[in-house]
Symmetry: C2
Subunit: 249 residues, 2 copies
Amino acid sequence: MNFSEAKKEIDSALNQGKLCLVVGNCKVRYDGRAASKLSEGDRLLVIKPDGTFLVHQKSKMNAINYQGPGADVTTDLDGDALRVRAERRKPMKEVIDVFFHSLQSVQSFVMSDDSNLKLFGSERELADLLLDDLHVLEKGLKPLNKEADLRKGFADIMARDSSGRLVAIEVKRREAGLDAVTQLARYVKELSQRKDEKVRGILCAPRITDNAKTMLEKDGLEFIKLDYEVSDKAEIKGLEKKQKSLEGY
Amino acid sequence: MNFSEAKKEIDSALNQGKLCLVVGNCKVRYDGRAASKLSEGDRLLVIKPDGTFLVHQKSKMNAINYQGPGADVTTDLDGDALRVRAERRKPMKEVIDVFFHSLQSVQSFVMSDDSNLKLFGSERELADLLLDDLHVLEKGLKPLNKEADLRKGFADIMARDSSGRLVAIEVKRREAGLDAVTQLARYVKELSQRKDEKVRGILCAPRITDNAKTMLEKDGLEFIKLDYEVSDKAEIKGLEKKQKSLEGY
DNA sequence: GCGATCAGCGGCACG
DNA sequence: CGTGCCGTTGATCGC
């Protein structure tokens, strides 16, 4: 395909707010938050109407080079190559240059789409469901306001147990690692200082790594295994108490 | 475009290890780690030779539905729609069904590409550079990374200061938030317990949020502002000591 | 707009 | 293989 035709096609697509796909052999250069070079190879370039700019190789899920929504895309005939540039200034100045040396295809499409994804099984959804069934965790647990105590990030669920102690509950939709325990520990620490009372911390997840469990126990926190099913409607399938509090350290 | 022709084209592309692009109006359903529904709209489907399966809407960087490398892709004429399915069993059973009701384009391409990205400015690179210039952080700091202290999760750099105290240094390539402080605090805590001596913790980043700085100071940790430039070769531009130790808590 | 956190995170490196 | 953690993380939500 001819470069100047290709340039026209891309420019026109950009102008009309169409999705533009370019396949060809290219080099890529990026300079911004980091910097990168990619030597010649066949790639797919996707340019979306919102400025999204994706350079895909033949494997892997993620684009090898990219620019998010809001990028300014321009084209230029640069000697024996067609240069497509995506530029951004918002977080900081960033530039991607794609130098096409040969083209397999340039196409553009009108994309009409008003639909939003409906997702089931998010952490938020699980926490909401659990809030309505706190007794499955422990008898006598009474929910407090869900997330209002701290402004700078706090536990998913706050509650009081049957003996009146404050309980911070962190829900994870997948295996909990060290970071999850660290996070809960921070919440418990800050809360107990703020409220000047002992606070329990419960981590709910379908699984926990060995290291995380060790650290959690050392910190006097608790883990409750919580499996769930997703099927149009996120549902809590069951749970298994595995670890009780060690009463401080 | 005709569905049965499209099916043939896609099947052939899959068979020959080509990149396949499909643009058309479709519905999408996903069931796996979570579940989702997406009603009709125009989308781009990218199928890579390694099984990568991406459904892109007209905006945003990330695919709205996807399957990673290793997915098994099949097609089926399903009444008045062309169904393209990506199935995976590896982490767990996951299925995406894309139902095309009309097609704008089906194309496939041979993709020859042996190049790897050269990236400059990664955290690892910054840490390595800093390791060779520890004095810019503080006079008398001596690196001791060869000890390879902990296996599972540890500070980027370990050193000893002029008075012989152990120092854990965490490098962040971007603004440090609460999580970065929490992470460093965990390292320092574990290390001081393990080594049975007081350990200093230094966080190096171009910026730190207010909350994070507050927490860091309360935990007796230190922050050193560390700017850098990336230009073909990651370079440490300068630094600014901002916060000194508060001598334990 | 900043900040904290989630994500079907993905990907990598190391044990 | 698990596990920790970085990422040009991106995207969302609350303030």
